[in-house]
């Protein structure tokens, strides 16, 4: 099992670091799945994360100048590692002016991702900073736990409002309540509601637009034939939503959410090179 990769382009490094920062804000530990073409950041430890789960996928070619991996076996050419994204973020945070960043899977005392940052310096030789991030290797028998979640059979799918606006609304609501209700309909209307003993606040968004979901096999999804005005809602932990929004530093190309009435909200954020899906279950 081998892995080594290198980033030399500062813009790629910056973008990659921001993705790691987003992930670090969402989960304390997460799974890194490496394949020949892609990197996946996954967490679905439902208990630890209050039921939320995430699937983030990016193409390695968009970030790395060099990328070599050899999986556990020829027919299973993948590597699954468990790590703390905050550690990786810390390693990359101060590398933003680096000449090169190399990442390598090593096993000196315990399996580690060694991040070696080549920094410019005034002297003849460059300054090297190495960060050894401990990782846990996930055995093959557990790989099934980390399969890509399927898009739920949603009642409503709607594009999200401008994330910056949504973020500031949710942040203020977070001060008042622990839970937030997201409701939306197929006419492009979404409401964010909180309700406590003292106060209830609702923010209305309209003209958001609903993404067209062509069903692959022609069968009806529960969204079809649905009354356009009827709202589907789910009450979720406001902190999870706030964390998701706080991590978004760049506006995604597409941002939408799928609501299964009173069950789960599925957020999909698409950028050019990376896609992020985040599932927040409704609280009882």
């Amino acid at each position: 099992m081998r892995f080594r990769a290198k980033i030399v382009d500062l813009a790629c490094l910056n973008h990659f670091s921001r993705i790691i920062n987003t992930i670090a804000k969402l989960a304390k530990t997460c799974i890194l799945r490496l394949t020949v073409c892609k990197l996946y950041f996954i967490f679905s430890d439902k208990v630890a994360n209050g039921g939320a789960s995430m699937w983030c996928e990016l193409s390695q070619g968009n970030f790395f100048d060099e990328f070599q991996m050899e999986g556990v076996a020829a027919e299973h050419n993948e590597i699954y590692l468990e790590f703390v994204p905050e550690n990786l973020w810390r390693a990359l945070k101060t590398a933003q002016s680096a000449k090169a960043v190399k990442i390598k899977l090593t096993n000196k005392h315990c399996p580690c991702l060694r991040v070696a940052v080549d920094l410019p310096s005034l002297s003849s030789s460059s300054r090297i900073v190495t960060h050894d991030i401990p990782v846990g290797v996930i055995p093959r028998r557990m790989w099934n736990d980390f399969r890509e979640p399927s898009v739920p059979d949603f009642d409503v799918s709607i594009y999200l409002p401008v994330l910056k606006t949504m973020k500031s609304v949710v942040e203020r609501m977070k001060n008042l309540s622990n839970f937030i209700v997201i409701e939306a309909n197929l006419s492009g209307e979404m409401n964010l509601k909180i309700e406590t003993d003292l106060v209830s606040v609702t923010t209305h968004f309209k003209d958001l637009g609903n993404p067209p979901w062509a069903s692959e096999d022609g069968c009806q999804s529960s969204a079809q034939g649905r009354d356009l005005e009827s709202m589907a809602e789910a009450c979720i932990d406001i902190k999870k939503l706030q964390q998701l929004l706080a991590g978004q530093q760049v506006n995604p190309t597409k941002a939408l959410c799928n609501i299964v009435h009173k069950r789960i909200v599925h957020f999909v954020l698409l950028h050019e090179e990376v896609s992020l899906q985040y599932f927040i279950p409704a609280t009882a």
């Binding site: 550690n87 900073v129 050894d132």
Partner: protein, 363 residues
């Protein structure tokens, strides 16, 4: 100074005003000596044949409160007068501001003993001098919460900084960061090969930001693990010393920082577990080690079976049956502050008497 202690010691001397602080565990000490030329007027007072120059300590927060907002002070204050009134038990800080406004602060003080850490930069085997910016850039790679860092020398004359991982921490869970600096990035390097010391980053960061702000190069004097590390800044009117305890290293061969070894645990000896007596004796030896007991900010080290040099054995006999687990800071103070030592105890030669502050500064 406020990053180190809660009390500010003011000591006027003939060679200037010395401001000092020490932390509660006596493992960090700092002194800023402002020469008379720094001030528009400097009168240390007169010492009689039997009396010394008056000195006192005040609450750090009270003192800092007077100078709370530097930008507005710079705009509005013309002069600042510091006056010590022993008989009124007050330290007077008077700010003469624009528009005829005078703000007078009367701070209560306490009389105090002379606060003097025992150290001698001349006895340090290694010395590094670097612009503050280099060290600031180095330290930025370590998390702000990191307690201790190991400074070491490696192959090719390179200098390394590595975060110190406590013995108790699981190596498989802790991230290790290591930074290598080339010799030519420093202004001067005179180090004993293979040497390394571990010290607390928090107090050092305080001095580092001061050095960066004043654009002064920082000199690091260090010796063997366990002996204090001394950071100095020098200027025509200011002399700064920061003395920090370092973790004492009981391994007979110091681990070179260039190895990937994270663990500082000495390999346990085979006969260790069987012989409880020698285990206890080894613990006591480590407490009384003349190389300097572990700093109170650091965990107690797993003891080695006594590979003691004659010096240490002598120490052990003199020890009053140190109980394993005695809070280390009591021992530590005795190394650091000569006045609190048990009489008759041999220590490193210089620690029997309190050294005058400038004993090493003339060079």
């Amino acid at each position: 100074l406020s990053r180190i202690g809660d009390e500010l010691y003011l000591e006027p001397t003939e060679s200037g005003l010395s401001l000092r602080a020490v932390n509660s565990s006596r493992s960090a000490f700092a002194a800023f000596l402002f020469a008379p030329l720094f001030f528009q007027l400097y009168e240390p007072g007169s010492a009689g044949p039997d009396t010394e120059l008056f000195r006192c300590k005040v609450h750090m927060k009270s003192f800092l409160g007077v100078f709370r907002s530097l930008p507005s002070l710079e705009k509005s204050v013309g002069k600042c007068l510091i006056l010590l009134k022993p008989r009124a038990s007050r330290l007077v800080l008077q700010l003469h501001c624009k528009h005829g406004v005078t703000k007078t602060h009367n701070l209560a003080f306490q009389e105090c003993e002379r606060l003097q850490a025992v150290f001698d930069t001349q006895r340090c085997a290694s010395r590094l001098c670097a612009p503050a910016r280099l060290l600031a850039e180095a330290v930025v790679h370590f998390p702000p919460t990191l307690a201790e860092v190991t400074l070491g020398t490696g192959p090719g004359g390179k200098i390394s900084l590595r975060n110190y991982v406590e013995d108790e921490a699981e190596p498989s869970k802790t991230m290790v960061t290591e930074l290598w600096l080339a010799e030519d990035e420093f202004q001067s390097v005179a180090v004993a090969p293979g040497s390394h010391i571990t010290f607390c980053l928090k107090e050092f960061r305080g001095l580092l930001s001061f050095a960066e702000a004043s654009n002064l190069p920082l000199t690091i004097h260090f010796d063997e693990p366990g002996r204090p590390v001394i950071f100095t800044l020098d200027d025509t009117v200011l002399e700064v010393h920061l003395v920090l305890a370092t973790l004492s290293d009981l391994e007979s061969s110091s681990q070179s920082p260039s190895t990937n070894g994270v663990s500082h645990l000495p390999a346990p000896s085979d006969d260790f577990a069987d012989d409880l007596e020698s285990y206890m004796a080894a613990m006591e030896t480590s407490e009384g080690c003349s190389e300097g007991p572990p700093s109170p900010t650091f965990p107690l080290r797993t003891p080695q079976p006594a590979k003691s040099k004659p010096q240490e054995e002598e120490e052990e006999e003199e020890e009053e049956g140190a109980v394993p687990g005695t809070p280390p800071h009591k021992k530590f103070r005795s190394l650091f502050f000569g006045s609190v030592m048990t009489p008759g105890r041999p220590g490193p030669a210089t620690t029997q008497e309190v050294l005058a502050e400038d004993s090493d500064g003339e060079s």
